[in-house]
Symmetry: D2
Subunit: 365 residues, 4 copies
């Protein structure tokens, strides 16, 4: 038996790792048990957002210092998501797995389970294409198995960190006579996220394999996963996958479930999700009970929300992802009662166009 822990730590800046160091030093967090750190940092979440790299560098330094083991950070899946617009608050989510206490009693309904896996390194020409989706699907299955989750329906959140194309990688492919999905490096981020999300959908049986073609990626917005959250980073050429779900092989008080918003103001499914998880109309006690909310958001490409025009896609001063995070972040913060929620932008094939998946982890104790 294993037990999962979710620690939510406030951050006063992208390099504020004092809470993490303090928690490790007093034994509240075991550095060796950390499987993943998700961070919301206060950059723009777009191309020139260096708060993500600054945060990751600071976390690696802190983990080495607090644990005395310089290699501990290498084993941790780090996902830094820029953008704390509006009511959103910068914070870290530290996900830890420990062996359960010997006298743990399994709950027949299961508890929060964490599994991690990765694909082999991919050649540049696979990025943003069917080959990447198939590789991610295999890694998702491996992460689910590692988490001892026995059914796709028990998976509620799959985080994928995926590679992107750079000028150098495009050239390397061309030198071998291979062509890439796009030579636009910014667009390669969207295609890589999209292919990864379709890989999640494949592994969870949300879409049939034959619908995942090169042409569908980035184009067939009707194909999506209700559990995927994907982000692209320049530092890796493989895909790193973390699956969260429910397993009877895990114990402890944490429970997870998910919902899918149909558009940026569609909070009714999230209210119902909280009810399913036993959270009543949130007050102070209920806010403590909610350990994490993880959401993917996006401005609807139709230019409309329930028939009314939005201006997010036409604003040349503020990028649409910043608008979307601010609006959905405000709506979701008003539901859970605070802004330390992981609202991330860029939701290609992650929920329907303009909507997105929302997972919630609560402490049922």
């Amino acid at each position: 038996m294993r037990q999962a822990y979710v620690h939510r730590l406030s951050a006063a800046a992208p390099d504020d790792v004092t809470a993490l160091i303090e928690a490790i030093e007093r034994g509240a967090i075991t550095a060796a048990g950390i499987r993943a750190i998700l961070g919301k940092t206060e950059g723009n979440g777009c191309v020139n957002d260096f708060t993500r790299g600054f945060a990751a560098q600071s976390l690696r330094l802190a983990l080495a210092r607090a644990s005395g083991d310089p290699a501990v950070a290498e084993r941790i899946c780090m996902v830094m998501s820029g953008g704390t617009e509006g009511a959103l608050a910068p914070h870290w989510l530290v996900l830890e797995a420990r062996p359960a206490a010997e006298d743990s009693v399994p709950d027949p309904g299961g508890a929060l389970a964490i599994g991690v896996a990765r694909t082999p390194e991919l050649p540049p020409e696979a990025i943003g294409r069917r080959a990447q989706a198939l590789a991610v699907a295999d890694a998702v299955r491996a992460a689910i198995a590692e988490a001892a989750i026995t059914a796709p329906a028990a998976v509620h959140y799959v985080q994928v960190k995926c590679p992107l194309l750079t000028a150098g990688r495009v050239e390397a492919a061309a030198a071998r006579g291979a062509s890439v999905a796009t030579t636009d490096t910014l667009k390669s981020m969207a295609l890589s996220r999209g292919a990864s999300a379709l890989g999640v959908a494949l592994a969870l049986g949300e879409i049939p394999k034959e619908q995942v073609s090169d042409a569908a990626i980035g184009a067939r917005l009707d194909l999506f996963s209700g559990c995927a959250s994907c982000s692209a980073g320049v530092e890796l050429m493989y895909n790193e996958v973390m699956a969260l779900g429910t397993s009877q092989e895990w114990t402890g008080p944490l429970r997870i479930d998910h919902a899918v918003m149909a558009d940026p103001i569609d909070v009714a499914p999230v209210r119902e999700l909280l009810t399913r998880l036993g959270v009543r109309e949130p007050g102070a006690a209920q806010r403590l009970q909610i350990r994490a909310l993880l959401a993917k958001v996006e401005a609807p490409h139709s230019g409309r929300i329930r028939g009314f025009r939005h201006t997010m896609l036409d604003d040349s001063d503020i990028s649409a992802t910043r608008h979307a995070r601010a609006a959905v972040g405000g709506a979701l913060a008003s539901v859970v009662g605070h802004g330390e929620i992981f609202v991330s932008g860029g939701a290609e094939h992650q929920g329907a166009d303009g909507g997105g998946p929302v997972a919630v982890i609560v402490d049922a104790a």
Copy 2:
């Protein structure tokens, strides 16, 4: 007996006045009956937001063309508020008053009432000071009287359009030996809004007269009105006031009430307000029933929302008012089910710091 009408018209651009022209031409709106037009336009809502002026110019042209009367626009209180961040949708709110039908039966609970008044022209040295607050208080009382609203508690929304200082006005005062509240023209907008809001609070008995001093304006954030919505404009040197409330001298199906949000994610009072007004959990029919939502929003100066840090005041790329409109707009749109709501930024003395007043008009028929 009079009857108030509220027409909400979508705008495809700041100069899209087609819906207004069409409504006047088919008789749905009587140009001579229009008391006020409130517009949400898609600029940044800050200093260099020219969508407000463009909208006002376009509305004046449209009113002259559709009504055949070039002077009709002069009698209308026009309040253009820039900024449709996130889920917010550009639109016009046309408030009209007509003589009631001869056979109208008064509702003992009263109906939506509209009253308009203005102060005399103020000298530059009065702007942002106690003198302005006292003048606005008189105008608010006049507008309430004109609306035949008999008790301060029956007032639910007071819109004030107020003057600001320009370099020329500062010089004119100096030439007479008079000093102004500030020589910073941007800051004069905040002080003028603040003095106006305290004037509303005075007229409604929300604060005692002796607390309104020059020093309190812009500083004593604990003094505020729960009904005031103020915006500064360069085109006038007087204050224009529109009061909305409930009066038994008015008839028809429209009802108004208000609530005060304590912070940007405090939607519970708005949900209760909708319940008081007879709106159940909003579906399509309920969305039609809600004719207008009018809110003032602001980023909390404490830098925190319910103890968690927000980054709105530290973002040098996006002004805090844009953040606040996006976040609160998302939260309120998720409550009423659409984005055609009048969410306006810059809430000095308009609700508590970080919170703000919210008025709702529904069709009770």
Copy 3:
């Protein structure tokens, strides 16, 4: 014989037309003689820049009022270019043509000549394609003829106002079974400007006709005109062309010449251009002598300027066109000694990648 006049008028706001009205009223400008008004307005110059529309509406109102002729504006080519970043100053350039005085003596070197023409309305499927380039080339030839300019080498500046695709236009083409160059409306602006610039290059013999293919537009950055300045607008489906050059059929003290900058800091050709035009190191008198500077600018797509990395294309907070206007505007203002220069962004096929054409009009008297 005709005589050209160039009036440069400062603007205090996008709707500040007082200088134009005043100049018409005191006879300094003859409304009926105005051929074109070029305006630099203080918006962002991108998709949601409404200062351009506000300026155009204000100019039309002013022309009708000052001239008493509501139709006068219809005959004038209006080009509003948004973006006065850095040292740039908002202003209007009014280009006027009048019959020369009876006793005018022609200068053997010729004088500034203005010619205007337009293409027929184009179907949506022609926009951004070779068909548009060919149509524009015909219109450029017509404008040159109208200006009585006898050689392509005597043309120094060609302004093209061109159409763009909208969702409605794309649908209209699809309904007829026609496909368009792109369904991305923002991209259609770039393709339309690019096709127009290649049309100018064709008419001036800068490139051979066979090189202008659908595939070359927006892709073959080595093909360009050194005289073209193109801007796309939603309000027309034809292309409007204004050619400026030198003709012996025109008289008066105004002279024009042009240069091509190779990159954003390449001011040496502009210094040489000023020398050719007889302007010494600019002082106050010389600044008066320079009537207009018209430039097209762009961030180099290589990501480098003379080998050094620039960050304009990676900045998700400020669009690259704003960066480019600010930088090149600063460099050119430092050459001519003031900021009332017409620096416009988006230079597809208008000068080499990252560089751009610069035309200067001086008063040689």
Copy 4:
């Protein structure tokens, strides 16, 4: 005898320290000799610019790794300036001092000299006030002495890194019954820079001591230093000073001189400065000869440049410092022929309002 070295290294990102590590490893730079590192990083240069902290942390890691001495970074004056708008290129300037070769022949005209000093820690109530200016003046004199510069006229650039107020520091002062210059932490940065610049002006004899009062700081824009460049940072409570000038106690080919721009487009003094330093009209060879250009820039508070309106101060989408760096950076890059120049914003009392000091270091060999 000592010899100064200036190494200019391109940076591909705020954490790109590869060129520094490589230069130390191959012996081109001696880590122990580094006196200062000035960095231009690609953030917004305003409150939430974390590229500065990211760069400093990355440099400290790199210096420790490459030198094997974790403490080496502590002895180095690090000044990170955010903002590479327009043509500006991210880069590092590494200033090194070594003992001169035994057979060095002194140049009677002297060579580039570097001196560093610091003030004692200041209490919060001294920041932005006369006390800070006096302390900085002492430190400037110490740095000049350390550099063996014998006359104020031989000083050409003084970099000051100065403290700022935080909420905690304000509270600490209040707890002792002391009041601070401002409780607005952003404004404290400007006041601290201003007091520091006046300290430089005092030490160099540019202004008399009696003119430096608390009230003059931030207000008397006519008082300024033509050599000061000041930046505020949260990490220190003392002032760190680096003086660059000419001394006969130093040898080698590097020479320094400075000029003062009167406004953002006033490049004539910089052209004359280059001529004085022996640089002809810049070509590729001349660009290599120019080792560093260091400038302070600002938008004129008058709202005008040579009588023409600028819009930098009214743009609520882009901060005025970004506009000013882009414009002046473009103008100066067009003079020196490339964008690796240290153009920094926020020039309170550093040059006249809207203008700023410019220092140039050339290799005279």
